[in-house]
């Protein structure tokens, strides 16, 4: 049954494990119909979704074409990233956090490159191309502290749902760097048009979009990558995507249909607007539609599947601000590049380090070598966060 939404103040945090959301039609106040709610409407920023999607999701068929806003960024390496990689000295160890299909590997034969990604499917693509890769979460890099001379993380941390997680991902990268080592971070900018220049993302239109083939995606592991990071909807209705406006709506949790029988507790569900592709972002937290079309050889009744990927798009200075809260992290360069905010950070020694053992902290026992300086407030908020999540 469709119910009317009622105004609600969004909660101060997003539950960050598996978060169930009720999607709303961007132009209206009504939640999506129950037909969709019966399918697996899960939003999850990480691979736990893979399990959920496998239970209730679509059948495993081979998909070939990927939606359009993933076009050029999937295959053409950003030149500024390439020059960063090529600037690393011989014998350097480069870690690509969230390496995807490995497009930044193989451009500097004098360095040792290793990548990690949460997606097995994409890691397979890297392997097929001859690169070294492993699966892990960017919030917990299984790498020794101080081992990396260089690190890149391109279009990764904007998928993390909270500031605390985005900060943690940066801390992990900084931890992995040696002193003097450098990391290049790219995140999607909220402002897709700077100084009247539209980004490549905005400039795409229906005629210019090519059918994209993600190399190596020709196997039955699909669409695990999409499932890991997206909301899966068995959808034939395209009206959600074509909506012109992505106005945030609010939902009264007491009146919202309880979608899942294992819905934990009485968490109120924030609504996250669905972004209209190739338009300026109206909000910082959005779900970006991502269409997967079946290959021609498959059955003709194969539906277009739409996935919704979470993005937190960054305001100017926001990425730098995240870095300022990390003691050993110094921003050495900051710029805007084709719809992305970018920084280069260097790991530096900090004087007068003292370690304040927090009262309560997350399960990051392996981070004891990270100095905590004057961050009691942060620990307190972590403690609150953990209590609230439970």
């Amino acid at each position: 049954e469709e119910r009317e939404g009622v105004g609600l103040n969004p909660p101060p945090f997003l539950p960050t494990s598996v978060t169930a959301l009720v999607l709303v039609h961007p132009t209206g106040t009504k939640p999506l119909s129950s037909r969709l709610q019966q399918s697996s409407i899960f939003y999850c920023e990480n691979s736990a979704l893979d399990h959920a999607a496998t239970e209730a999701g679509p059948s495993n068929t081979v998909y070939e074409e990927i939606a359009d806003h993933f076009s050029d960024t999937r295959h053409k390496p950003w030149p500024n990233v390439l020059s960063f990689v090529q600037s690393l000295p011989p014998g350097a160890l480069l870690v690509d956090v969230g390496c995807g299909n490995g497009k930044y590997f193989g451009h500097n034969s004098a360095i040792y490159e290793v990548g990690c990604d949460s997606s097995f499917g994409l890691a397979q693509v890297c392997r097929e191309r001859g690169f070294q890769v492993f699966n892990c979460n960017c919030l917990a890099l299984p790498l020794r502290s101080g081992i990396a001379d260089g690190c890149i993380s391109i279009a990764v941390i904007h998928h993390l749902a909270t500031k605390e997680r985005r900060s943690r991902a940066l801390r992990e990268i900084v931890r992995t760097l040696r002193f003097g080592g450098k990391a290049l971070i790219y995140v999607w900018a909220k402002d897709q048009e700077r100084h009247k220049n539209k980004s490549a993302y905005l400039k795409q239109d229906r005629k210019n979009r090519r059918a994209e083939v993600l190399e190596g995606f020709q196997n039955n592991n699909q669409p695990s990558y999409a499932r890991e990071l997206s909301c899966v909807i068995n959808k034939t209705d395209t009206t959600v995507e074509n909506a012109a406006c992505s106005k945030r709506t609010n939902i009264d949790p007491d009146n919202s249909p309880n979608i899942y029988s294992d819905n934990p507790g009485n968490l109120s569900f924030p609504s996250i607007p669905i972004h209209t592709n190739r338009t300026q972002f109206q909000h910082q937290d959005v779900l970006v539609p991502w269409k997967l079309k079946p290959v021609k050889e498959s059955k003709t009744d194969e539906k277009v599947q739409t996935f919704y990927r979470f993005y937190h798009v960054f305001e100017e200075g926001e990425l730098e601000q995240l870095c300022h809260d990390i003691p050993e992290c110094q921003v050495t360069k900051s710029y805007y590049d084709q719809g992305n905010w970018c920084i280069v950070v260097e790991k530096i020694q900090v004087e007068n380090t003292c370690i304040l053992l927090p009262v309560q902290y997350t399960n990051q026992d392996y981070n004891h070598d990270l100095p905590f300086i004057g961050t009691l407030v942060q620990h307190k908020s972590d403690a609150l966060y953990n209590a609230a999540t439970e």
Binding site: T16, S17, V18, N46, S47, A48, P90, G91, A92, L93, A110, Y112, C116, S118, F120, A123, Q124, R127, V133, F134, N135, C136, N137, L139, A140, P142, R144, I147, T362, N363, Y366
Partner: protein, 107 residues
């Protein structure tokens, strides 16, 4: 987290041919946790001829460099597992890709 690794029961190990580049190796060797490297090589049956500790002045020892080159770059575990020596936790390796993803509640 993991400070060393121990690969036991590797079901499939692949050996390929990579160009020998001594200058590259000389720079990489200091970054290795040698005892972990040695144990890993030994556990998959490729430890022969590898010294238990790094020899001094290895820059000019071509035999040594070639042994390191072989194990570091040419030998790969395709199917097997990594076992944390501290916790005993196992991380599978499939198709040459180690899976070191944590559980939801650990993040």
């Amino acid at each position: 987290m993991l400070t060393s690794k121990c690969i036991k029961g590797a079901k499939d190990v692949q050996v390929s041919e990579i160009d020998f580049n001594p200058e590259f190796l000389v720079r990489i060797i200091p970054k290795l946790d040698w005892s972990a490297f040695y144990k890993a090589a030994e556990s998959i049956g490729h430890g022969e001829g590898l010294p238990q500790t790094v020899i001094s002045e290895f820059e000019n020892d071509e035999d040594f460099l070639k042994k390191v080159h072989h194990i570091l770059l040419e030998v790969e575990v395709i199917d097997g597992e990594l076992i944390c020596p501290e916790s005993g936790r196992k991380f599978p390796i499939n198709e040459g890709i180690p899976n070191m993803l944590l559980n939801e509640d650990e993040l």
